[in-house]
C-alpha cells in the first residue's frame, strides 16, 4: 500500500504578502481552540475513511503554521501517529516565518515532534523584503535561521528571486550569502505574478516589471551553478538539496504518491477502494470550521481521477523532478503505458533536442527541458 503523506493547512498570517496567492487570511483575532478542534476532528474523519495505513510524512503548511499554538501541533502529531502507522523515519515539517515572535517558539515546535523546519526568508536584502511586504528584517531572518539550525535536525529555507530589476551579479552575491547560512536544503523560487494578488495589479499597470525570459533563464542557470558549489543539487525545478536530504513530503507530491489534505482549502489525492480520489476542502476558514463542526469534515467535493487524468497529473508533477518518472511506477499509478500518454513525435524531437532523456526505465527532463517544462508539457502530453 502507498504510504501516506499528510498535509495540514493553517490558513492565517500576520499580513498578506503582495505576491502570495496561497489560501492565507489575516484576522484580528484567531480562535486557536476552535481551529485546533476542527483540524483534529477532520483528521479523525479522514483517518476513519482511509483506514490504517503507513504514513511517511506530515507537513504543516500555510498560511503561517508557526502562528499555531505549539500544543495544537503536538496534538495533531500525536493523533496522526495513533491513527496511522508511522514509518520509523517519519518526516515532520513545519513552515515558519522568521519573525522574532515565531523564532522564540521554535523550541516548542521541536518539543511537539517537528523534526524539519522550512523558513520563509525570501530575501536577505532589506529593500527587497520591504518590496515583498515581509514582516521581518534580514537580521531577524538570519537569527531565526541560526536558532533553527541549533534546534532542528533538518532546516530548509525559501528565497524568491528574479525580482524586478535584480541583476545576475546581485543575485549570485545574495545567493552565496544564503548558501553560507544553509544546511542541506533550499527552495529557490523565481517570482511569479499570480492572478488575484496585489502584484498582479501593479504588474498589469506596468509598475512591476519582471526580468525577460532570457534574463530569467540566465538567473536560473546561475542558481544551479552557485548551489552546486555548495553541494546542493537541484532535485526539482525550484528545490536544491544535498543528496538524501530532499523533502520527503514534497517528493510524495512529485512522485504522484498518496497524500491527504486536512484544513481549509487543502487538496488531496488518496487511494480509496482501488480508486484515486481528488479531495478538496472549503477554502474560507470560518465556513470550513462550521462544516467540520456540523458534519465532521469540511470536504466540498471528491471525485475519482480518471486514468488519463492521472497520467497527465503524473507527467505534470514527475517531470519536475531531476530523477524523472519511473515508467513501471507510471503504469502502476495510472494504468497507462508511458508511451501511450505521450505524443510520439514531440517525444522524439524533445529527446533529440536534449530536453528529455530516457534511460534505465526512466523518462526525465534535462536541465534545459526543465527550464521550458510548461511549453514542453503542453506539446508532449497526448
Amino acid at each position: 500500500m502507498e504510504p501516506l503523506a499528510l498535509y495540514i493547512h493553517w490558513p492565517f498570517c500576520l499580513a498578506k504578502c503582495p505576491y502570495c496567492d496561497f489560501n492565507s487570511h489575516v484576522r484580528e483575532r484567531i480562535d486557536q481552540h476552535r481551529f485546533a478542534a476542527a483540524l483534529r476532528a477532520e483528521l479523525a474523519w479522514e483517518a476513519a475513511r482511509l483506514g490504517r495505513r503507513p504514513m511517511a510524512s506530515i507537513f504543516f503548511g500555510g498560511g503561517t503554521p508557526s502562528l499555531m499554538d505549539a500544543q495544537t501541533v503536538a496534538d495533531l502529531i500525536e493523533d496522526a501517529r495513533r491513527l496511522f502507522d508511522p514509518l520509523p523515519d517519519l518526516e515532520i515539517t513545519l513552515e515558519a516565518n522568521p519573525t522574532s515572535v515565531e523564532a522564540a517558539r521554535l523550541a516548542a515546535f521541536r518539543q511537539a515532534g517537528v523534526n524539519r523546519i522550512s523558513l520563509g526568508v525570501q530575501s536577505l536584502k532589506a529593500e527587497s523584503l520591504t518590496m515583498l511586504g515581509r514582516q521581518h528584517s534580514a537580521d531577524q531572518a538570519i537569527a531565526a535561521l541560526e536558532r533553527a539550525r541549533k534546534i532542528f535536525p533538518r532546516v530548509s529555507f525559501d528565497l524568491i528571486y528574479a525580482r524586478p530589476g535584480q541583476s545576475e551579479a546581485a543575485w549570485r552575491a545574495e545567493l552565496r550569502q544564503a548558501l553560507a547560512l544553509a544546511s542541506d536544503h533550499l527552495s529557490l523560487y523565481q517570482l511569479t505574478i499570480e492572478p488575484g494578488t496585489a502584484f498582479f495589479t501593479s504588474h498589469a499597470r506596468g509598475d512591476i516589471v519582471l526580468p525577460d525570459d532570457d534574463t530569467a533563464a540566465a538567473l536560473y542557470d546561475a542558481t544551479a551553478e552557485e548551489a552546486g558549489k555548495f553541494g546542493l543539487l537541484p532535485y526539482e525545478v525550484s528545490n536544491y538539496a544535498r543528496p538524501g536530504s530532499e523533502s520527503r513530503h514534497n517528493l510524495a507530491y512529485w512522485r504522484y504518491g498518496d497524500y491527504a489534505g486536512i484544513g481549509p482549502g487543502a487538496h488531496g489525492r488518496v487511494s480509496v477502494d482501488g480508486a484515486l480520489l481528488a479531495t478538496r476542502r472549503h477554502r474560507a476558514p470560518e465556513p470550513w470550521a462550521e462544516r467540520v463542526e456540523r458534519d465532521g469534515h469540511g470536504s466540498t467535493d471528491e471525485v475519482p481521477v480518471a486514468s488519463d487524468e492521472r497520467a497527465r497529473e503524473m507527467l505534470l508533477m514527475g517531470l519536475r523532478l531531476t530523477e524523472g518518472i519511473d515508467e513501471a511506477r507510471f503504469f502502476t499509478r495510472t494504468g497507462i503505458h508511458l508511451d501511450a500518454a505521450l505524443d510520439a513525435d514531440i517525444l522524439a524531437r524533445a529527446l533529440e533536442a536534449d530536453y528529455l532523456a530516457r534511460d534505465n526505465g526512466c523518462l526525465r527532463a534535462t536541465p534545459e527541458g526543465r527550464k521550458r517544462l510548461d511549453s514542453l508539457l503542453g506539446a508532449l502530453v497526448a
Partner: protein, 601 residues
Amino acid sequence: MTDTPLDHIRNFAIIAHIDHGKSTLADRLIQATGGLSAREMTEQVLDSMELEKERGITIKAQTVRLTYQAKNGQTYVLNLMDTPGHVDFAYEVSRSLAACEGSLLVVDASQGVEAQTLANVYQAIEANHEIVPVLNKIDLPAAEPDRVKQQIEDVIGLDASDAVMISAKTGLNIEGVLEALVHRLPPPKGDAKAPLTALLVDSWYDQYLGVVILVRVKDGRLKRGQRIRMMAKGSVHTVDQVGVFTPRMIPTDDLGPGEMGYITAAIKTVADCNVGDTITDDRVPATQALPGFKPSIPVVWCGLYPVDADDFEKLRESLGKLRLNDASFHYEAETSAALGFGFRCGFLGLLHLEIIQERLSREFDLDLIATAPSVVYRVHRTNGTSEELHNPADMPDPSVIDHIEEPWIKATIMVPDDYLGAVLTLCNDRRGQQADLTYVGNRAMAVYRLPLNEVVFDFYDRLKSVSRGYASFDYQMDGYADSELVRISILVNGDPVDALSFIAHRSAAEARGRSICAKLKDLIPKQLFKIAIQAAIGSRVIARETISALSKDVTAKCYGGDISRKRKLLEKQKEGKKRMRQFGKVEIPQSAFLAALKMDA
C-alpha cells in the same frame, strides 16, 4: 403611398472622392426633409455598419426616400443613394448610378478635384446622368470655391457656374441642393401599365426578414403577394413585403414606376439573387430584360481558411450571405496542403480584402487565415496551352513554362507639386512607366502604367505616406504584358508553407524574400523548438532566419496544491493546440500571413 406621378420623383446618387462629404450631405438632406428626428440623427447616419463608423468611410451604398416640399409648393419624392468614395468599392457606385437619372458631384472646396472625383464623374457621364456640381466645405478657411469651379470646368469639362455652394457640416444652403435636385435633374421615365420590370440593385441578409432586395422599378408595379420571376435566373417567388427606406424600413402596398424600395420574398437560396437581374411579373412577364450590370472583375485573390477546420461549412454559408451583400466579391472552394479546405476569394483591392475579412470575423464570428494575396497571372506553357493563375501555389514547374504575363494598370495620381518628386520615385521603384504628366493649377496629374502586382500590397499606403496624405489615386486595368516572374516559396523547418508563397519580379525577388523572412522572425513567437525560416526560388534558398527556442517557461512553485487546476490548464492548452494549424510543426499566428506580405519600401 407610392402613387407619386413620375414628374414628382427624382432619383440621384451622391458621388465624390473619399471624404469629400457625401455621407454628411446625406445626413443634412435627411434632416432637412424630416426623414429622421433630431433625436434619431447620428453623424453619417447611413454608415450603419460598425466598420464604417470605426473607419469613417462608406463601404456600402445606401438608399433613402425623402419627401420634399419645394418652394413651388409641390411635393417631390427624392430617392437618394449615398455611395462610397474609395476605389475598392467602385462597383457599389456603378450599380447605384444605374438606378438613378442624376448625380450630385460633391467636391471639397478646399481640396478640389481628386482622382476619384474624375473616376466617378466619368462613370456618371457614361450612365447618361445629369450632373449637379456641389462645392462642399465652404466653411473651411482654406476653401477656394472659385479656383475649384475653374478646375471642374478645366479638368472635367462640366459647367460649374451654378455649382451649389454648401457646407454639409454646418447645414449651409442645403435648401439650395434640394431645389437643384428638383429643378435640374430629370424625372424618371416609366409606364405604370407596362409589364413589370424592376432592377435588382442590391441585396442582403437580414436575421429577421431573411433575404432583402433593393429594387428600382422601371415599368409596371411591384405589389405585395405578386408572383415575381428573376428573368436571368428563372426562379419564381411570391412577394411578402414591399417597402421604402426613410431610412427606416417602412412597408407599403406597392412600388410604382420610377420608385426605389425593398422587397422580401422568402428567398432561400442566395444564388437566386443576382444583382443586375430584372424582376418581372411571372404571369405577365416583360419580353426584354433591363441592361443589368457589367460583372465586376476581381483583381486580387487570396485564400481564406477557417482557423478551426470544423468551421469550413460555416465559412461556406457565411461567404454566401456576404456575397449576397457584395457582388464584387467572388469565391470558390480550394484546398491547400498546409491549410486544408478553404476558399479562394477575389477582391477589388486590398482594402476590400481587409473589409471582407473583418466582416466575416465580426458578423459571422469566424476566425480566419488569409493567404498571401496575388493578382491573376497568365501562364503560357511550352506545350502551347495557357491558363490563368490565381494562386501562387498552383504555379507549374518552371521547366514547363514558356512565359508568364502579368496584369498592368493605368494609374492616375493627383498630387501637389511639392510631393511630385517623391511620388515619381515611388512609381519608378515599382517598375512604373510614365504615360503623361500635366498640371491643373499647382497640382500635378501623373498618369503611370504600373504592374498591378506592385500596387496591390501597399502602394496606396506608401503613396499616402510619401505625399503626407495629399496624393489621390485611381486606376484601371490596362492589359497584360510578358514579365520575368518567379515564385518564392517560404519554408518553415524545411516544409514549404503554400499559404505564404508568392510571385514577384525577378529583380525584386531576393530583397522581398529577405524582408519576408525577417518579418516572420518578428511575427512568430519563440516556441519550444528552434525554427528555421527560409525563402527559396525552386530549390535555391535566397534568404534564411532562425528563431531560437524560447529560453524559459516553467512554473516556479508547484506542490500539493491544486493539481486538478494545473491539469485542466494543460488540457485546455492541448485543446487550443489541436485547433491551431501547424506549419512544419510550427504555430504561425493568423496575423502573420497578411502582415508578412505587406512589403516595406
